[in-house]
């Protein structure tokens, strides 16, 4: 019965993919061309064969099932591939590449016994149907490391086949909670492994990952006053970075990891500053009686985009790292904020006000090709943040009541829900 159910689901999946292919092919008849777009007909079709279970009994069978499912899911979430599990679809679609491999163990070493013993994963990317090995990886994960191994292999395959960086090992930090208490949490890019990072009974907001992922800078009201703090992701230790009088927030790491941009209001109103991780001010970049906030470095670390309400409404501006070369980026809408420069450098995402609600926009860094990604069905959509592939955006929306996190594939305009629950989830940050 269970098997039959699985087959049915897979058949539906295949049917859905066929529909997607049909729709995409119909679309190619139009003249609309969007850069970087990889519509369904351009996606790499990849077959995921059932892994051979060589030894180890049920733990190995379970591991094989989980790895297969994860690989299919990772390929699908990449937006670059059309995966299918081998057991059902037969030769319906044409494939040029496939995954195959085996699971062995658990090996019963002297020290490793029972459930905690590692399995051996032998995974191959092969040409199809002639089965020449393109990529071979061997992993020896403990049960809690199995997901990391599968994600790692998926990233390797995606990079090998598309040249794009995989995001399967990336994670999203965000703020969750209500009332007097909001804590930082982190979740895998696929919505698994939710974990709380802070527990200090106060507000913790606006996380920002250091480029190497070793630290998360964030804004907290711990110790009774607002400041920027940094959490060491290896041991959970939190250190104060800067707590000048007034507001200290909006931290964004420089691509070198050697300094941060922050907004500080100790001069009387928020201005953009460059500081080092020890909290020393290196340079003040803006001087005006207006609000200057929400800075984001370009991936090259030369320019930054930020918000200023110097004209009376919050708008986006770009300056260089010395505070020179002002240019205004946004002219539409009376409310634009929360800009983030894409890792590919060509685009900027931000939040704009449409009527009474906030929506997500992507615009080219030169101000052209403005696209609003969300509409009124999304109620309020805020706090966009780029995945390292520059293709996916995570943002917060209250379309289901409380704010939850969603991921948008910017090229295809498709969405998936990342987090859920009654407590609002806001200010997400995708690891590099």
């Amino acid at each position: 019965m269970k098997h039959l159910h699985g087959n049915l689901r897979s058949l539906l999946l295949v049917a859905a993919m066929l529909c997607a292919v049909g729709a995409a092919e119909a679309q190619t008849g139009t003249d609309v061309v969007i850069d970087h777009t990889r519509t369904a007909w351009m996606k790499t079709r990849i077959l995921v064969n059932m892994l051979d279970v060589l030894s180890g009994g049920m733990p190995s069978v379970t591991a094989a099932d989980e790895v297969q499912d994860m690989l299919v899911n990772d390929f699908r979430l990449s937006g670059l591939m059309l995966p299918a599990l081998r057991d059902v679809e037969g030769d319906t679609l044409e494939y040029f590449v496939a995954i195959e491999g085996s699971v062995e163990g658990p090996l019963r070493d002297a020290n490793a016994t029972g459930e905690d013993a590692p399995v051996t994963l032998n995974l191959n990317l092969v040409s199809w149907p002639d089965r020449n090995i393109i990529l071979n990886k061997r992993y020896r994960p403990l049960p809690h490391q199995l997901r990391t191994s599968a994600h790692h292999f998926a990233d390797q395959v995606i990079h090998t086949l598309t040249g794009e960086p995989g995001i399967c090992l990336s994670r999203i930090a965000f703020s969750r909670g209500a009332g007097d208490r909001r804590d930082l949490y982190v979740v895998d890019y696929d919505g698994e492994n939710l974990m709380r990072l802070t527990a200090n009974r106060t507000l913790n907001l606006c996380p920002s990952w250091s480029p190497d992922g070793s630290r998360i800078a964030f804004t907290s009201y711990r110790d009774g006053r607002q400041g920027v703090y940094a959490l060491d992701t290896s041991n959970g230790q939190v250190e104060l970075v800067i707590a000048q009088p007034g507001l200290n927030y909006g931290a964004d790491w420089h691509p070198t990891g050697e300094e941060l941009l922050v907004s500080l209001s100790h001069s009387g109103n928020p201005e953009i500053y460059r500081i080092n991780p020890a909290g020393e001010i290196l340079r003040r970049l803006t001087v005006s009686p207006a609000i200057e906030i929400s800075p984001s470095w370009s991936p090259g670390g030369r320019d930054l985009v930020f918000t200023s309400d110097r004209t009376g409404t919050p708008q986006l501006y770009i300056i260089d790292g010395d505070g020179a070369g002002h240019r205004r980026l946004t002219f539409e809408s009376r409310y634009n904020d929360s800009a983030v420069w894409s890792p590919t450098g060509d685009r900027i995402a931000y939040a704009t006000r449409v009527g009474n609600h906030t929506q997500i926009v992507v615009i080219n860094a030169n101000g052209e090709n403005r696209r609003v990604l969300t509409d009124h069905r999304w109620r309020n959509s805020e706090d966009p943040n780029w995945a390292p592939d520059g293709r996916h955006l995570v943002f917060a929306s209250d379309r289901a009541g409380a704010f939850d996190l969603y991921v948008c594939d910017v090229e295809e305009g498709t969405f998936r829900q990342l987090t859920s629950g009654d407590d609002p989830d806001i200010t997400p940050a995708w690891s590099r």
Binding site: G179, D180, R182, L203, L205, C206, Y221, R225, Q226, G246, L247, Y249, G250, S263, S265, G268, N269, P270, I291, I293, S294, T307, D309, P314, Y335, D337, S338, A351, R353, N356, H357, T358, N380, E382, D383, I426, T427
Partner: protein
């Protein structure tokens, strides 16, 4: 333009009336310098209140025992929250009249209080943090102009992160656009 203004003013007028009552009970006498027209807040365009240029008379020492200002939340001794219009940090007439009364109490109390700026849920987390600070700062500056020592007034902003009323109604929004006086 928006529905919330009526609520805001109603709440403020209530606060003014309650506050005046408390004041009279506490001081046992008139204080012409801070006498406000109770209709000023509700009248809308009727009065253009000019901030007093003369420092109000110092109130007489109250005969009842003074509240323990350092221990009580400011609302307990008559310092009321003030409210703002959507996306604004300007002080309305009603807000200024509440602050005039707050100033007199704060001068007498001579304790450090924290002015927290708050916003409704509309708009972004980051801009609302800045807007909340602008509101707190506008309140502080006005109180300082009325003779409250600047050293006694700390400001902070919670933006939209600590709403007083839940929900997405005009009422909730009106309640949440405020400067709140908190014990340090």
């Amino acid at each position: 333009m928006y529905q919330g203004g009526k609520n805001s003013k109603f709440v403020t007028v209530l606060a003014v009336i309650l506050g005046l009552g408390l004041m009279l009970a506490g001081c046992g006498g008139d204080d012409p310098a801070v006498e406000t027209d109770p209709t000023a807040g509700a009248g809308g365009d009727a009065t253009e209140t000019v901030p007093p240029t003369v420092t109000p008379e110092t109130p007489e020492v109250p005969e009842v025992e003074a509240p323990d200002y350092a221990e009580l939340p400011p609302s307990e001794y008559g310092v009321d929250d003030v409210f703002f219009a959507f996306d604004e940090y300007d002080l309305s007439d009603a807000t200024m009249s509440t602050l005039t009364r707050n100033a007199r109490i704060l001068r007498e109390a001579d304790v450090v209080v924290v002015i927290e700026g708050h916003c409704d849920e509309r708009g972004t987390v980051e801009y609302n943090l800045a807007l909340g600070e602008k509101r707190a700062k506008a309140v502080k500056d006005y109180l300082v102009s009325l003779g409250v020592p600047a050293a006694n007034l700390e400001i902070t902003s919670y933006g939209e992160s600590k709403p007083f009323a839940q929900g997405s109604s005009d009422y909730a929004w009106t309640q949440n656009r405020r400067a709140h006086f908190a014990r340090r």
